[in-house]
Amino acid sequence: MIGGDLNHGIYALMLSLVAGTPLLLASLCCTPMRKIAAQALPLAAISALLASFLVPSYVLVEVPWFFMSGRMGLDDTGRIFLCVSAFIWLLAALSGRNQVDNDPENNRFNGFFLAAMAGNFGLILAQDMLGYYLFFALMSFSAYGLVVHKGTEEAHRAGRSYLVFVMIGEVALFLALVILADSANGLLLEDLIGVTIHPFVLVLLFIGFGIKIGALPFHVWMPTSYQAVPAPAAAALAGAMVNAGLLGWLRFIPLGEVVSPAGSLLFIVAGGLAALYGVIIGLNRKRAGTILAYSSISQMGIMTVIFGLGLTGLDAGDHAAFILILYAVHHSLAKSSLFLGYGVLANRKGPLSKWHIAGLLLPSLSLAGMPLTSGAVSKVGFKELTNFVGEPWLVLSGFFLPITAVGTTLLVLHFIRVVRHCEGSEKTGSTSGPGAWIASLLAVSLAIWLWPAVQIHVDYSIAAAKLWQSLWPIVTGGLLFWAWRRCVRRREIEARPFVRDINTIQGHCSGFDWWKKLHQVIGGIEEELKEHEVERRNNLVPYKSFSWFLRQEMKSIYSFNGVASTVKVLISGLSGSGYAGIDFFLRKTEKIMGRWTVVGLSYVLLCILFFFFLG
């Protein structure tokens, strides 16, 4: 027994250390011992990685006193997410330690980096709603520090739009949580099982977590932020933190427990649109971070679709949950690898070598669904899911998936081309060592082979027919890309900071006239949003015209102030210029009342009055 207790204690300690280590290190950043924290940056993620392998599922840490009672534990879903996240954070930390070493602000960077890490780990472990919310908030707000880290005008703008959306997400989540807690009669995640979820809550959750994963109307922050953050942080942002949104959906809308046709429609439509939209806009962007962000939007769109499919039925839900996790792992590894690679290559001197190109191509094609990569496995899983769900969503596997695959291929090729051209243009400090990148490449290529649970899908995906199914969109995409590049006049891609894409679009996209109009419309909306942001920033007092309007309103509404000012005049002894008339009247009346004749009259009058009144 004692041994058992001891073991349990150790596991509990390990569990606590998962989020605790980064938090402790983050607080060290505020003390003179900040150098230690900077050195120990990777250590923070290692404890999480260890825990994800060692701590068994039954270990639960209950802290009833903490923040309306908290519970931490590591279930199967959490374990996968924790493992992947910890790995990505580890790589990001390793590359980040080198990259921001000579940055004067590196201490601040480390602090926010660690806090975001703690948030990310904590939310994976959280087994109660508020714990999830707490760590989610910690992660989201800390990531702001990463977004604005570079301190450029552009970074601040990105940070601002990031913050706006984070706030909207927080509020939506808050509302959703309140309603869920009310209907579930408990705060633990397991209380949610069997609870009917109001469609309104679904919408709120869609907004709250959708913002994190860049679901369609709420993706605006993503491209700017991905472009603005330093590459290591971007890897963490795109690889680990986006998953918090997916995990949130999985936690709060437990697939396999909930069926919601309306919800599935919402998720599938929004996801499908995002998948296409991300590709279309991404092709028109000229900076690597932005392009990757749109790729993320697109990929996350696909995952949203998977989630939506999971909402169509109970069995489908179970199925979809697994596919979703698989897809998420695949995307995280690939995307973080791309960012890490971009971080290595952005500041290189000289042209790219073959190896570099190959290193970029591996995760890129994996994203596109190249056979024998995790991408292919995931896409096959997606197809199985649509087959399982059946009509009306069967159409997705027939048209939607190949189209997105083609699009993704185009997009990643576009990305590689951009990276080739942006020699030494990004000022991200010194170039980081390639070690982390290489590790991530290994993970991309090996992960699915080492993951026992997905072997069925893997086997399935390497059947010959499937291989071709996965391959043709990539070939098509490659051919299209080649054709596009031939059509477009060769020109140096401008890579100066903050290019207003819409202004240069005509020169670049002459080959694709048919979507120029569409793009202009969409780009116009985005510009609009940006303009709005700029305006908001220029006036530190926000919404100036609105404020003017309010002030006018105040003047008319505030009749109480009118009373107050009258009293003020009274207080100043009525001597103000505008009230001389009243003052004069009062003085005169008082004088007249003092005349003997008037006194006599009032005396007699009152005498008579009293005489009669007394009767």
Binding site: R587, E590, G594, W596, T597, V599, G600, L601, Y603, V604
Partner: protein
């Protein structure tokens, strides 16, 4: 009985006249006199009140005592009023007989 009522009425008329003079005249001395006439009127009414119908016993002594007291009070008050009037005339630059009393509230200073 009639005489008694006559006295009383007479006293009231005196009182009313004094009242009118007090309010209408601005001269200080006149005002003092008006007050005196008023008190005389009151005393007259009071004396009339002492009247007892024939055969109802002696005259009521209480009003007389009151009148005597009243006269004493009246005399002393008149003396004070006169002194004050003189003082007012001495110290103020106002021409009492013409303009009457003028107290300027706004400029009046305390101390």
């Amino acid at each position: 009985m009639i005489t008694n009522t006559l006295y009383s009425l007479c006293g009231l008329v005196l009182f009313a006249m004094g009242l009118f003079a007090l309010f209408a005249c601005s001269h200080l001395l006149r005002k003092i006199l008006a007050v005196n006439i008023m008190s005389a009127g009151v005393f007259l009414v009071l004396v009339a009140a002492a009247y007892r119908p024939l055969g109802a016993g002696e005259v009521d002594p209480v009003p007389h005592a009151m009148v005597l007291t009243g006269i004493v009070v009246s005399v002393s008050v008149t003396a004070l009023a006169l002194i004050l009037a003189c003082r007012v005339q001495e110290t103020s630059n106002l021409s009492i007989s013409r303009n009457g009393l003028k107290v300027n509230d706004e400029e009046g200073s305390g101390g």
